[in-house]
């Protein structure tokens, strides 16, 4: 087993004909992902790497049994694409597109919540389960095995690039990953760490999770609360990046609203303290992940 990206993933790519999307289609098919259809308006009847293209997602759903969509359309069209996926009953929507207007994101996240859909992203590089030979999105490129080998460690990262790097650290420590999830770098995302931890808790294959945290938002604080309340009971190893931002001159504050809403949250030092208090292993240095893994995971 794994989470989100599994042998049962039957995938459609919205915006499949774009330069990046076609390349990702090729790499993903080679790796073993079942990409059954693509959607690009006006290009029905054509194909990308043998994957048939449809004008509408509705038509793609009529012809194929689909349960996962990867949204690869430009920012101005991303809101409509996500709404199209929700409207056609797709339950897992991975949004690769970055720089989507924030109002659009808030709107489709609310719509997804109402329709009981899981959204990963926006601004995610994807999800990869090496044991299942399934990758969704650009994650891993065309040389997946270089950084991702099968194993029992889950990876959660707010940074796309560091999703790969953390998975590689797991490999370097002598282990492998069950699933690596790039949750997206934006302040508002469909599935924050807490949601992914909940999935890893239920996944029998996953025995430990490595998480990459960053300044801002309450993602890490919420994850710490979730662990403390018993929502996640497996070992959790965290690296918090961006500690230097606390010593930067003030200037990111504009108006009072953010400080009233967020209070003292968002600071790496507070996040680290909360996670530690919840029983997580907080790596002081990035290399510490290596020995903590070796200590925590019993072979």
């Amino acid at each position: 087993m794994a989470i989100l990206a599994t042998k049962d993933s039957k995938v459609v790519i919205q915006g499949i004909t774009g330069r990046e999307a076609s390349m990702v289609t090729k790499h993903s098919l080679t790796y073993g992902t079942k990409i059954l259809a693509g959607v690009t308006p006006g290009k029905e009847g054509q194909d990308v790497e043998g994957v048939p293209i449809y004008d509408t997602l509705k038509r793609a759903c009529q012809k194929h049994d689909l349960n996962t969509s990867i949204v690869y359309v430009p920012p101005a069209f991303a809101h409509d694409a996500v709404m199209e996926a929700i409207g056609n009953g797709i339950k897992l929507i991975l949004t690769i597109t970055e720089r989507i207007p924030r109002h659009d994101v808030a709107h489709f996240l609310a719509a997804a919540k109402r329709a009981n859909c899981t959204i990963i992203g926006p601004n995610s590089v994807g999800i990869l389960s090496p044991g299942e030979k399934v990758k969704l999105g650009p994650i891993g490129g065309d040389k997946v095995g270089r950084c991702f080998v099968p194993g029992e460690i889950g990876v959660i990262s707010r940074s796309g690039g560091m999703t790969t790097e953390c998975s590689w650290m797991v490999k370097r420590a002598g282990f492998g990953v069950s699933t690596s999830v790039s949750i997206g770098g934006d302040p508002m995302i469909g599935s924050p760490p807490k949601a992914i931890l909940s999935m890893f808790e239920k996944d029998p294959q996953t025995r430990t999770v490595v998480m990459w945290g960053e300044p801002g938002t309450t993602h890490e604080e919420d994850a710490a609360d979730f662990v403390k309340k018993g929502g996640f009971t497996k070992p959790l190893i965290v690296y918090m990046a961006g500690r230097f931002v606390e010593d930067m001159p003030e200037g990111t504050v504009f108006g009072h609203a953010a400080s009233i809403i967020e209070g003292g949250t968002g600071k790496p030092s507070n996040k680290m303290a909360k996670l530690k208090d919840a029983g997580a292993h907080v790596a002081q240095k990035f290399n510490d992940i290596l020995w903590i893994l070796q200590k925590v995971v019993k072979k």
Partner: protein, 402 residues
């Protein structure tokens, strides 16, 4: 987020039917006197700079009569507010305020919803009040799928104790303000104080607006009036930063490159990935290193973009070494990165045998990147070392320099 100057946000509110004080924007004290005469005294003189909390910084002053106006205007125009030199001031009619309210709309990232924050205890101490008397502040999350109905706005103010005409006016204002928030893709919209004047009018005395950079393409009325990305800076962009923005914008669809100049420092910092660069910067500081700048790149930039960026990094006075430390790339072509950096070094006639350098660059087209660096006589690392290891190597090399 881009900060919208107060004259622009007040014009927008006015257009949408929210009352604001009469105002003018002027560049010098002579003009200030002219417009103040026209408005009639007393007037307020406010520094027109994209920073919040100007009141606390002393950049908002009241002028009682004609004799004072030039002196005060000159004083404000000579100020630098949180590193932003004041180039223009906003002169507006001073209101006769009976009560100060507070109202703002922003996104609550943990709830992923718009949130309205309202209080009948507005003014510059609002954050203090939020801490010490939280019962004076009301937070209301809006269901973006159904928008804000007037009755919801009414409930908010009613709960805070507004009655009669004040309640009606405040309800109408909040309904309009939420429409402005949605229509202009605002990330924050704040009125503080929202004044109830002695003659019972409700006027947006001070307005603060942040716009979403990523939505500017559909906000033509804002796009030329805001400084994109002004939220990231705690001061105006330096000359070098402006040049680096130009390098990035020259090829908008190929890769991103951000450059922030740091005070002092001697390590030219060129790091891959938003997350990766946070890691490397932290690591250098922990080990006692002094980065001269903060730079992140990603998204497969061209060699031209890398060249421009590397040249900028290396040309800052005091830079005595160069660290390229990137996460293993998913799609960035490392050979293009190599080409750009080598060209910058050659252009600047830097002797790579004497100049401390560490390269940790793995991923797409790595064998070619390795060949290029080795051919140029530069020590190269792929995934034989971690990102932290590369930072340590750099620190060791810098130590040998002195």
């Amino acid at each position: 987020m881009s900060r919208v100057l107060e004259n622009v946000s007040k014009e927008i509110l006015k257009e949408e039917g929210i009352a604001v004080p009469d105002f003018f924007v002027v560049p010098d004290e002579g003009e200030a006197r002219k417009v103040a005469d026209e408005l009639g005294y007393p007037v307020m003189i406010k520094a027109l700079v994209p920073v919040g909390k100007r009141g606390k910084a002393g950049a908002i002053k009241s002028v009682e009569n004609r004799e004072e106006v030039e002196k005060v205007a000159k004083e404000v125009l000579s100020m630098t507010v949180r590193n932003f030199p004041v180039e223009r001031v906003l002169v507006e009619k001073k209101l006769n305020i009976a009560q100060e309210l507070y109202i703002s709309i922003t996104f609550d990232p943990s709830m992923q919803m718009p949130v309205i924050i309202a209080s009948t205890a507005g003014g510059i101490e609002i954050e203090e009040i939020a801490r010490t008397r939280p019962e004076k502040i009301l937070k209301y999350h809006v269901d973006i799928l159904q928008d804000l109905h007037p009755y919801m706005a009414k409930e908010i103010w009613s709960e805070l104790g507004l009655e009669g005409r004040n309640l009606q006016q405040a309800t109408d204002l909040l309904s309009k303000l939420y429409k402005v928030f949605r229509k202009y893709d605002a990330t924050i919209l704040e009125i503080n104080p929202l004044a109830i004047t002695s003659d019972g009018k409700l006027i947006a005395a001070a307005v603060l607006m942040g716009a979403d950079d990523d939505a500017l393409y559909r906000q033509p009325s804002l796009s030329r009036k805001v400084e994109v990305g002004s939220d990231r800076a705690w001061r105006p962009l330096t000359q070098l930063e402006k040049e680096m923005v130009a390098v990035d914008r020259a090829e908008p669809y190929r890769g991103t490159a951000r450059y922030t100049e740091m005070e002092g420092g001697n390590i030219g910092f060129f790091c891959g990935g938003g997350g990766g660069s946070l890691l490397v910067y932290d690591t250098l500081l922990q080990m006692g290193g002094k980065p001269a700048n903060y730079t992140e790149f990603g998204g497969n930039p061209t060699d031209t973009k890398v060249y421009g960026l590397a040249k900028g990094i290396l040309s800052k006075p005091g830079v005595k070494g160069f660290l390229l430390d990137a996460n293993i790339t998913n799609n960035t072509q490392t050979d293009l990165v190599a080409k750009g950096i080598i060209k910058a070094l050659q252009d600047l006639k830097i002797d790579v045998k004497k100049f401390p350098m560490v390269i940790r660059l793995a991923g797409v087209n790595e064998p070619e990147a390795r060949r290029l660096f080795e051919e140029a006589g530069i020590e190269y690392h792929g995934d034989d070392i971690t990102m932290e290891d590369a930072a340590r190597l750099m620190i060791d090399k810098m130590k040998k320099l002195v």
